[in-house]
């Protein structure tokens, strides 16, 4: 069990991410490491409140929304997903970005609260033009056009 914390960590800057709200989930693309995550409503709520302030108001917000999960457990997952930074600096933009819809929705907690998205298959990502000169499209297996060869992950 996680030890109880008093102050919240701080979320990384909003500019690091592309965020899409879809129904009751929040999809997050980390532009720094190119990893995508899916946040449950409770994870999105906690993330939106991670501004270095007191943790009590997050506990209250979770309770109001009917969530029974410990803030510490959710924060541990947010941290593990690399969505948080050191607590010295405060960023208010994330709260603006995500708003408070997760609280209003009163949605049920998914478990785990965060999971990384699986990339689509190679075929799904492939384009017919893939394999053209200088395209980076042979990282997993060579598939350059017949006239080209795969060198350093590029079709040349």
């Amino acid at each position: 069990m996680s030890a109880q914390i008093v102050r919240l960590p701080v979320a990384r800057p909003a500019g690091d991410f592309i965020v899409e709200k879809v129904a009751d989930e929040v999809l997050v693309y980390d532009q720094r490491n190119h990893v995508a995550h899916c946040l449950s409503p409770v994870a999105a709520l906690v993330w939106s409140l991670c501004d270095g302030g007191k943790v009590d108001r997050v506990r209250a917000a979770l309770a109001d929304a009917g969530h029974k999960d410990s803030v510490e457990a959710v924060i541990a997952q947010l941290s593990s997903a690399g969505l948080l930074r050191a607590p010295e600096r405060v960023d208010h933009s994330r709260r603006r970005m995500l708003g408070t819809t997760a609280v209003a929705a009163g949605v049920v907690l998914a478990s785990p609260v965060i999971f990384s998205l699986v990339s689509p298959s190679v075929a799904q990502a492939a384009s017919a033009a893939c394999g053209a000169k200088t395209q980076i499209c042979c990282t997993t297996a060579p598939k350059c056009n017949i006239t080209l060869r795969c060198q350093s992950n590029k079709c040349l």
């Binding site: 592309i18 899409e20 693309y29 899916c38 075929a123 017919a128 017949i146």
Partner: protein
């Protein structure tokens, strides 16, 4: 006897039928057919027609495509901003320009941005794209609008459309010109990605000026009509029929969709007759691609000569491009 590929392809077609509509009817299928739909770029479209565990199996893919759409939109905006600051006019084709016609964001996956610019700006444009490499969004520069042989460029320019996107404006082709491009592009690749035919279905259901649409070289017009008829017959798209399909065409497409995506090793040498035969078997062009590459004809004649000619042309192209063709053929 019906081949298993043909049957699988038909099941993919059935799954994708009407999938682009606002409220497509629910259906059921098998995980194998779903995989084939995914490999054709149509996973999210398949998701719209399914429910229960089958739909759940596609949820991650749908999430991924929604994020990808957001990423590409952000990347498109930042690129267009930079081009605008550099005084370069940009025309966007395919990708975002067709995805916007689908009823939901992320429904139509695309994997690059196709930007058409004046060749005089090539160096600056490449610098701009290099400065955007950090977001890992593939961008293809074109210096003329692809597949527009025989079309009236002044008419194309007059029909360009401008679509606001945040603080930028996206310039793209009018619907008829875009449909022309999408059809010839898809046919040129044998329509192996099912989503390409869905694109045609989506565009066919827009209000179109068919008189303008069918202006161009005769073989291209015939190919376009054939592809639209295919979208109607295979996917149930609405619209007037302007061609009859040769009997080999639909089964050929179903076979292709039923095989799914196959990643081939590039041919780097021609080592032996056995390996050449094996290569020919694996790379044997589908009849749609071969016919499109040779400019038709889309008739009832056997496709074998067309496929053979296309395969030989590809081999010759490979041999010409290789560092030392004499060395290859000597082995």
């Amino acid at each position: 006897m019906v081949s298993s590929d043909l049957r699988s392809g038909e099941l993919v077609a059935s799954l994708l039928s009407l999938s682009w509509r606002a409220a497509p009817p629910t259906t059921t299928t098998t995980p194998a057919v779903i995989e084939l739909a995914i490999s054709g770029g149509s996973g999210a479209l398949a998701h719209r027609r399914l429910d229960g565990p089958l739909a759940a199996s596609l949820k991650d893919l749908v999430r991924h495509q929604i994020l990808e759409a957001a990423r590409f939109e952000a990347g498109l905006k930042s690129r267009l901003r930079a081009f605008r600051e550099a005084g370069i006019d940009v025309l966007l084709v395919k990708g975002w320009a067709i995805a916007r016609r689908y009823p939901q964001r992320g429904l139509r996956h695309y994997s690059d941005l196709d930007l058409v610019i004046d060749a005089a700006h090539r160096a600056t444009a490449e610098q701009i794209l290099a400065a955007h490499a950090h977001d890992r969004l593939e961008t293809d520069l074109h210096f003329s609008i692809p597949h527009m042989r025989g079309r009236d460029l002044s008419a194309i320019r007059a029909r360009l459309v401008e679509i606001p996107l945040g603080d930028v404006v996206v310039t793209t082709l009018g619907d008829e010109d875009h449909l022309w491009l999408l059809a010839l592009h898809g046919l040129g690749h044998g329509l192996w990605r099912s989503v390409w035919l869905v694109d045609l279905a989506v565009m066919l259901e827009q209000p179109l000026d068919f008189d303008y649409l069918y202006r161009g070289q005769r073989d291209d017009v015939q190919a376009l009509k054939i592809s639209l008829r295919l979208a109607q017959q295979v996917l149930g798209a609405d619209g007037p029929a302007h061609a009859e399909l040769p009997r080999w065409l639909e089964p050929a497409l179903m076979e292709q969709w039923g095989r799914g995506f196959v990643m081939y090793e590039p041919l780097t040498r021609v080592p032996s007759l056995n390996q050449l035969v094996d290569d020919a078997r694996r790379r044997w062009p589908n009849p749609i691609r071969a016919t499109a590459q040779l400019g038709g004809p889309w008739n009832e004649w056997p496709r074998l000569p067309v496929q053979l000619l296309d395969y030989v042309r590809r081999l010759a192209r490979f041999a010409r491009a290789h560092d030392d063709p004499r060395g290859i053929w000597a082995k």
